[in-house]
Amino acid sequence: MSRYPLLLDRSTWREKLPSLWGGILTSAFSLIIFGAVLLLYLNLIEVSAAIFGQNQYSLFLRDNLGGKEKRSLEKALRKKKAQNLVKISPEQAREEMLQSFVEAKSILEQAHFKPFPEVWEFSLPPGPQPNPKQLDQLRSLAGVTEVFSGRQTQEELNRYFRIARFVGSVLLLALLASIFILIGNSIQLSIYARFQEIQLATILGATRRFVQVPLLLDGVFIAFSGLALSLLVLYLLYQFTLAGVTFDAPTYAIRAHARFFQLQELALGFFFAFALGAGSAQVAAKKLLNQMNL
């Protein structure tokens, strides 16, 4: 028997669990969408930052570049302190492309493509960035047709991320508001279902706090359970997606950088769930109890 006998004893829990389940499931559904958007966004930033390193460069070489020209190009790069030089031949590039589209491999193998250019990938020591001069110097090297830098790509991606962040923030705020309303509605249903008990307690001299504390706990319970359920589903989806990604050789690197929510983020999530559950229950309970003149 608790200090709040009306709303917390075992028989009461049995009674109110079905109505709480509605709140838990709908909150969990919204939180899954919320979490998926957040996780996707975090991973896009992390993976892109890792894959498109800021000092990473790709040189596209002219077709049929001779051995002598390649050696002098390599010498020029060495002068610029290029590291981790990887040379991707046209054949390797074709093979990688075929690996990327493994399902269509047989069709692509029979197709005739314009030969891929040879690509050299390397990184330069970190320096003052951005450095368009650096790019121009690389472009001017003999035998080079095009230069791409990781920074360029990342800046391009960041521009899209900014748009995604704005759209995502609006979506996330809308979802948070909907969770707030959902929990509030569950609490209001709980009050309606238990109106006679609450009314009796009020007549017998129960304070607002006596009536409201169990309702706040209900709100926190809904938010916590909804968050826990959504995290479980998200984790399963995350593992499933990751397993799918890593079947594919070229995207295997993603596994090294992709991540689920970290411990601090989870703790923050539960803190927000507490605030959201208690806050929405408080608002809903106060409004309804005032309306009922209790």
Partner: protein
Amino acid sequence: MNDPPFIRLYKLGKAYQGKEPLYQNINFFFEKGDFRYLTGASGAGKTTLFRLLLGLEKPTWGEVHFRGRIVAKLPPPKRPLHRRSFGIIFQDNKLLLKQTVLQNIRLPLIIQGVPLRKADHQVAQLAEKLNLTSLLEQPVSTLSGGEQQLTALARAAIHSPAVILADEPTANLDLEMSARVLDLLELFHQEGATVIFATHNLELLKERPHPTLLIKDRNFFEVKTP
């Protein structure tokens, strides 16, 4: 300086929207330790008077004073404390059917923050007085109508309230059980409680010693007990 009247109805009037007033311009006192029967036709306003006393409704005109304070003007945080001065028995007893007799009786004590062990001790003492000891662990839903009303009576008296309001508690009981309920109310009255007992069963009041208050034609009349 004189003590203020225990309960004072001052120019009291109550009307619900679109209906004739239940009563108007009532001036009346209840002294501490009074035992009054309250009678009148159905819809005369007996239950409404109880709700006004508890501060669950506001008068349309006039004031209800309790221990010198205007009930309708009590600030919200003070209202629960005001209601704890009352014990109330309802016609439909308003018991929590899935809970045991013990849990129902100790509810007012738990609401008032009395520790569980102390509350259980108080319940055991009262149950013995009311012959309810053997029923304490039973769910209320398994009890007879009379036993349920005795449980409600125990719940109303467990916190030794200053006033017991009995709102037609005998309406669904046979004469024998009704007489027992009245006897028990008499007992609580002797222990110091002010009792207002609403009924429209005048038969029940025969040979009872206390004055009767009749609500009729929007007014209160003190009448002799039949």
